[in-house]
């Protein structure tokens, strides 16, 4: 009798698991986009709570494990080739919206580091992290503050700069919403969904023109020349690229676990 009960429970658990998998694999990028539009509109109407976006990123790091696993499952359910194409087009579209609002050219936007924030499977905001971005915003707006979620915030050079994906909507988040972060460079079609763990390192991909340049991470010489990639501990990293006969290239950035920083440095002759 016991054996029958155990077998029954085992079969039921298998069926239940299969059901879950089947449900998850039904998602695709188009569904996600439709859901995004609906949810952002709904959220803007509700306008329940205004939250510091930096705190949301922190909350994502601490609590976003389950959501990120779900997001990863949805992401994995879409064929790789298809998802890169669809996401790249999607993000290029969004870039053009920024161009209208902030006066960035499409090339300038593509050179930035992008982090796409999403609540579960819903895109909500895009994050730019770049000294160049901060400077450009200052020049374009003649103002050292920006408005997001109704909070006026100063722009820190080199610090994170968050803006909503859709400029007409003041995106708001309900209490307890957990975020996931996608990083990548639209111009390279290089998109990345980090898996849930604070144990992850951060990845720095460095390309230089011309290549074979020496790289320094926080003033320590890297054992390989460009083009190269590195995994480091999360934190603030200063990357310096030097090559004889060319001016030194240098930038620093604070990287969180799982973040990717793609550098395309065009070295200028002395």
């Amino acid at each position: 009798m016991r054996i029958y009960i155990i077998s029954l429970v085992f079969i039921l658990s298998l069926l239940f698991n299969n059901n879950l998998t089947a449900q998850n694999s039904n998602y695709n990028i188009t569904d996600i986009e439709d859901q995004v539009t609906k949810d952002i509109t709904l959220a803007s109407r509700k306008s329940k709570l205004q939250v510091d976006p930096n705190l949301l990123v922190g909350a994502f790091l601490e609590k976003g494990r389950i959501q990120k696993i779900q997001l990863k499952m949805v992401y994995d359910s879409v064929p790789r080739k298809q998802r890169i194409e669809v996401l790249a087009n999607y993000l290029k579209e969004k870039s053009q919206i920024k161009e209208l609002k902030f006066g960035f050219s499409i090339d300038e936007l593509n050179d930035f580091h992008w982090a796409y924030l999403a609540s579960d499977i819903k895109f909500t905001a895009v994050q730019l992290k770049s000294v160049k971005a901060s400077k450009l915003v200052k020049i374009e707006t003649h103002n050292s503050t920006y408005d997001f979620l109704g909070i006026e915030k100063p722009i820190q050079p080199g610090g994170p700069f968050l803006m909503p994906i859709m400029p007409n909507i003041n995106a708001t988040f309900e209490s307890g919403v957990q975020l996931s972060m996608w990083t990548g460079n639209p111009s390279l079609n290089d998109l990345f969904v980090p898996y849930a763990s604070t144990k992850r390192g951060c990845e720095i991909h460095i390309k230089s023109i011309p290549d074979n340049a020496t790289v320094f991470f926080n003033k320590k010489k890297w054992y390989r020349t460009t083009n190269t990639s590195a995994v480091h501990k999360p934190g603030t990293w200063k990357v310096t690229i030097t090559l004889d006969g060319y001016k030194e290239w240098s930038q620093n950035r604070n990287l969180t676990p799982g973040e990717t920083w793609s550098i395309n440095a065009s070295l200028i002759k002395k």
């Binding site: 390192g201 990845e203 991470f217 320590k220 010489k221 590195a230 995994v231």
Partner: protein
């Protein structure tokens, strides 16, 4: 008696040099690891060999530590931990083998995390070399201390 003191002092100095070198290396090497594509079978095999070697050293370190403590805890052994020279060697050997194990545990976990989350392992990375060298040199230094403890700790009666 003179030999015992000479070897103990030499061992003490070599251990101090080793510890200073480890600290110097730790604060000077470029951290991080280059992202290597591990899809080729040769690279996977090399990675396996690397981990197997680290594990073999760690197992030997545990065995040596066990043997060392047997001298102290068992009553009827031929080796006696007596006199400042042997006590120093015994203590240093424990320190070296223990540090080798700590280096193994930390390095192994760290490298496995990098493999798991970033699908990457670069055998040339200064970080990997540091972990590998630290574990091996501490282990060898521990072996040296183990030998000196046995040779000079024997009962001469």
């Amino acid at each position: 008696m003179g030999n015992k003191r000479f070897f103990t002092v030499v061992y003490l100095i070599s251990s101090i040099i080793l510890i200073v070198w480890i600290f110097y290396s730790f604060f000077t090497f470029a951290p991080g690891m280059a992202i290597e594509d591990l899809s080729s079978n040769t690279k996977r095999l090399a990675t396996n060999f690397f981990f197997n070697k680290m594990t073999a050293f760690a197992q030997l370190s545990i065995a040596l530590l066990g043997g060392l403590w047997a001298f102290l805890s068992l009553a009827d052994t031929q080796i006696k931990i007596e006199g400042w020279e042997i006590v120093t060697c015994f203590g240093l050997t424990n320190l070296m083998l223990g540090s080798s194990l700590i280096s193994y545990a930390w390095g192994y976990d760290f490298i496995v995390e990098r493999l798991f989350y970033h699908s990457s392992f670069d055998i040339e990375a200064p970080l990997v070399s540091f972990v590998k060298n630290t574990q091996q040199y501490l282990f060898l230094d521990g072996c040296l201390g183990f030998c000196i403890t046995i040779i000079f700790g024997r009962k001469m009666t």
